[in-house]
Symmetry: none
Subunit: 210 residues, 4 copies
């Protein structure tokens, strides 16, 4: 396969500049909020030329995306192979994970740029694609792995679709974070896990009834 015709030479890329841009993007996303964030502003804050940003990122959202990725990967192990905890107690494990998510989404340093990124993802299909392959799908795989383990251990009903199960557990949190007026709490995370596991229906009318 021949190399891309006009792609920039990544080996010559200035790492200090890249870091400055990502930092600036993150800071500004938090400071001025989801909307007034501008490439011009990022470049100015980073002490970089606009062209340098356009050279390496296709859109404002892509910068933010990389900025958030860099924040997560910061010294930690590779996320691609990471796994959710499995202590044998599914409910406890899920609560732990969801509580950690709540903590992240409650910290404005992380939540504000994350929210900005989410807006960009909704508005930019190309960025959405990137977001799916590089963030969402790995996360879904990780969740599914844990749930499958639970299913094999007999903690999960064998006829449950794991994708739907994951949606049931993580969907409400995501929604409340995006649209809810009040902040996320550990209590809410716990309630979602308990309710999802137990189901809404009366014990006497379950599964077999449907």
């Amino acid at each position: 396969m021949p190399p891309q015709r006009k792609s920039p030479d990544a080996t010559r890329r200035s790492q200090p500049t890249r870091a400055a841009i990502l930092t600036a993007a993150l800071e500004l996303a938090g400071e001025v909020g989801y909307a007034r964030l501008s490439i011009e502003g990022i470049a100015a804050r980073a002490g970089a030329g606009k062209q340098t940003i356009y050279r390496w990122w296709p859109s404002k959202g892509a910068v933010l995306f990389d900025a958030l990725l860099a924040l997560s990967d910061d010294g930690s192990a590779d996320d691609a192979t990471a796994d959710l905890p499995n202590t044998g107690d599914l409910a406890a494990d899920l609560k732990m994970v969801l509580r950690a998510t709540v903590d992240e989404l409650t910290d404005p340093r992380l939540s504000d740029p994350m929210r900005a990124l989410t807006v960009e993802v909704l508005a930019d299909p190309e960025l959405a694609q990137t977001w799916r392959t590089r963030l969402d799908e790995p996360m879904r795989a990780m969740k599914t792995r844990r749930l499958r383990a639970a299913q094999e251990a007999g903690d999960l009903a064998p006829d449950v679709d794991l994708a739907v199960a994951a949606d049931l557990v993580w969907g409400p949190l995501q929604n409340k974070w995006l649209f809810g007026p009040e902040p996320l709490t550990h209590a809410y995370a716990d309630a979602v896990v308990d309710t999802a596991l137990a189901g809404l229906a009366q014990a006497s009318r379950r599964r077999s009834d449907t």
Copy 2:
């Protein structure tokens, strides 16, 4: 109480112009997508002056919001007092409602401007407030009423938090619509309802275990 000093006199408002603006907003939101929608574009398409828009709406999102409201209210009864169907079969009722939602969110004529509005809501806290009081809260109330009826009828476990229950049922749909790559389906709606009602856990380890 005397009228506000600066608020425009709504009695003089031109209804044809208002309709033209809302229609133009809807059309453009679908045509150019959630991003390139502009007030100038709406005004031009509607044959209206920009000032007319600024006089009556505080933001681009507010126009879109009204446009979608107008679309829903179109001749129908007042949504505030509407109720979800209650045939006595909770699962069937929920599936019906969710399938209807899927149909709406699958039709590009409705889905595209709705998506645009969602982006605006996420980016504009003021609009978010309006959206919550005028759309989300009434809807949540409606959902809660139906669920409470089910609880009272013994179809729902008595210890279930109705708010959490509603999140469990409607959250996954909303999420998949916003972020999922593939379109919503009736099958997915059904799966969500069934799984939420039955719960994820094995029958032998339910509720009492928590």
Copy 3:
């Protein structure tokens, strides 16, 4: 004739802004010289938006052109109908006019922007056309009128082409101004007039010889 489709409505044009732009252009042309003059700079200095400049002028040179025109028309009579002096003494009249030109081209306030405009005229064919019809041709007509009067009065040889004659008198000055290292002087103006009138050749070998 129908009006231009998209031409701006000149009646709504802001005269204070127009004046500020022309003044700023003139000042900057003098200050930063023929080259570093930018539309952005003019707009900033004038406290105007760039779009306002682009709305009314097709190019940077056109702004400068108008600025210089405005400077000349400043309260004076209409140039279109003006005439060169005619006291009956052609040599004296020409010297007076050329000396006045020398004075203008020696004053940096006028000379610097004029030089900038000249550069633009050379580089922009469209501007060159405007410059010809609105400045050069009226001037040439004015010069030709005076020379024709001289010819009719018997001061100019009857077989002299008036266009060539005008070139002979005004061309050297223009050239020396543009390219010469030393500044223009009254003495040079006088020498050009005298030499052009008398001719280069020895008296004994004139006209009839050619």
Copy 4:
């Protein structure tokens, strides 16, 4: 004297590259016109690095200058010692020279880059200095030599300032080339020579009158 610290070593200069740059400059000046000519464009067209241009030339205009010089010096004798023709017939000689100039300035291959250079000369005082010492002054000297010979031969009036005389003959041509709408012609060259030699005034009122 030790060599300059930072001056490049001319002996190592790549002649093929130099030629490619000059050719590219010439071509582009003709193709994209006096304005859109850029150093980046020249480098790209020449297959050279930008730094190579900046190493050897102080400005875009200097490149163009060298390019035109190289075009003229192409195998011919040294211009510095060249002389205008002197057949004894001043008028005929001048016409011959001016007609040759007209031919050059009419050929777009030469005229277009020359025009571009002229614009640069007007805008860049440093380049103007180079242009004067290396092109204009030698040319003026050449012209003056021929005119002085004529004066000594009695073909030119003894009181004529030779610098002014040269301006009178060559100035109009230069001007018409730069600013005139219609192209230069041999007829115009002839007319200028004849008129300059004979003078504008009636024979009966010449020289002695001033």
